[in-house]
Assembly symmetry: C2
Homo-oligomer: 406 residues x 2
Amino acid sequence: MCEKHQHQSAAIADNHEGHDASRRKFIHATSAVGAGVMLSGLVPSLATAAPLAPKPGENIKSKGYAAFDDSGFLKPWEFERRPVGDDDILIDIKFASICHSDIHQMKGHWAPQQYPQVPGHEIVGVVAAVGKNVTKFKVGDRAGVGCMVDGCADCDTSTSRGEQYSPQTKFTYGHPDDRSPTGITQGGYATNIVVRDHFAVHIPEAISFEEAAPLLCAGVTTYSPLLKFNLKKGDKVGVAGIGGLGHLAVKLAVSKGAEVYAFTTSPGKVADIKAFGAKEVIVVDSPAALNAYRGQLDYMINTLPVAYDVAAYASVVKPFGTYTQVGMPNGFTVSVNALALSASQVNFNASLIGDMKETQDIVDYCVKHDIRPEIQVIPASDVNKAWESVIKKTARYRYVIDSSTI
Amino acid sequence: MCEKHQHQSAAIADNHEGHDASRRKFIHATSAVGAGVMLSGLVPSLATAAPLAPKPGENIKSKGYAAFDDSGFLKPWEFERRPVGDDDILIDIKFASICHSDIHQMKGHWAPQQYPQVPGHEIVGVVAAVGKNVTKFKVGDRAGVGCMVDGCADCDTSTSRGEQYSPQTKFTYGHPDDRSPTGITQGGYATNIVVRDHFAVHIPEAISFEEAAPLLCAGVTTYSPLLKFNLKKGDKVGVAGIGGLGHLAVKLAVSKGAEVYAFTTSPGKVADIKAFGAKEVIVVDSPAALNAYRGQLDYMINTLPVAYDVAAYASVVKPFGTYTQVGMPNGFTVSVNALALSASQVNFNASLIGDMKETQDIVDYCVKHDIRPEIQVIPASDVNKAWESVIKKTARYRYVIDSSTI
């Protein structure tokens, strides 16, 4: 399974000159903690054998890679997390993958940030401790965490619309948090994390940790709107932006029997995307590339995390169809030509990750249907290079940080 | 009927100092063409008694008020229209009302324009000549013209989606037109107009010309999306922007039994809007005014012809509900906060006028349900002051130009 889908410790595509040095660092880092940890994604029992239980009420020591300002440059940082509360679990992190949102938020593209701040909201690992009320997990369980770490589990909003819409929900990093010693939540580019049990999901043995990580944000963010659209076999589904989110959207839609039309600005991705099962790959080198598909598709999802011409992309959907934005550009702002949107008669909406049930569902769905993200495992010391690669659109398709190298 | 709804020759609200002079001009202008024309809206038979039939193939002489550059200042202009073709009718215009779109287009807010250009796409009058193929109208009929004047009547797009979406459709002014002596279509602030019969609608005797005029754009533009939403009794419907379009949207939604929530930035309109039947009028003086209605409404229509915060307004609709933009701001561009739109889970779409069937329907519907726009009839010489008033939001609620004063 892993060999089929995964490029272990692959070079970061746009920066080959630094690769050998990074590789040396990677080997050095991993050798320091022992070869057993190298296999932690595959053999969790080895890694979970001897976690030290934290003392009740005591802060949890952690190490991570943090941004210290809006330059977007990450450096190692030692910090403390809140104690494990009665409803919480402590997870020893095995892998955490890189989402474009990490970059946006650390660089202050969405709002001014408090620093130091550890990004990362695609997190997998092993439960190392549980609070006294926790029944969902036990020590040694494989667990995953996405974009949410705390909040109510059963308020009206959480149960009717999803936890991500509840004002009580705390997001995984940078969210004000009185219980955190740093005053904000700190994310998953780190050795461990404390989360309320409700906000973690089970990771079945049948999927590797490193392949499960990207499902926690990229996976559920694309799965949730596809699920709401009630995608049927034979539907013509568009996916625009074939990066971390988009390549999973292609695979998910294909698995539902859809005819997938993938829109990318990267000609170099065409062969990959066809291999993911897309019926057509359209290289959008001019608006004319979109015009040729005007009014053709039943549904479309757009994952572009940058500003773009919404109405031009939406126009490829049939009149009265739906077009969903899931990428979040600078300032969260997209601009829409209302005349062009009216001419397409398409409904435009946006979707924010997914709820906790959907987060578990996407993991289980990918296990059941043998869907895996395309990943490149990297040592933590390569994180800044990986971010550059994501920005330059040379990532193929999700970088996953091996937390044992932190 | 007229006394109830209409303010004949009312002062332009923001410019009282010029009113007396304008009134003198108005009286002078109307006296020149005879008192009978003053009543033309009510007694069409007087006006239709003696139109001179144009010679076949001969251009039609017309007078109007045109923009000569993007200053937005209109001046009298004599020009020629294309001959009356086999499928065309010639209409002697009685009244034409002022739409914010006229101002946007003449000022080049949407695209660079060819000048001179006569605006106006809310046009009513009497048929003065018909082409040999025309069966829909006969000379003397009361007729109305909206935003379209020519094109195919039966192409796939016209029949399945509406004439306004057909690439063959010519819009009423500024549209390239080989048959027009000026090279573009010329609008309704004029003495007459030539249109293909399919693009004119019948104006029943039961409604005055001047009250029918605003229905041809403002009416159908709000009626069409309300009709598509399939508005039911008791639905909570929001209307934002209570001007020419919005005040009709309020009246139409009220007539369908909806609970109407009207959002305006003009405190001075509150009493009027309540009189139109709105259940609540919300003065939007800060975003908090919208927050109080978050997730409350079944549907919302926004008529604002300026840039505004789409997601903030959309948030008052219930999750999975629909929010429709019909106003067209500068550059047609609205900006949308994708995060806020995702948080509302609302579908955003835009709607462009309505098709020809809907244009006839809105006229007949208003006659049947005794719905009339609030109008102020003005002489053509007041048109520039009226435009200023529209921009300053002091119009109450639609200016209608008496074409006999041109």
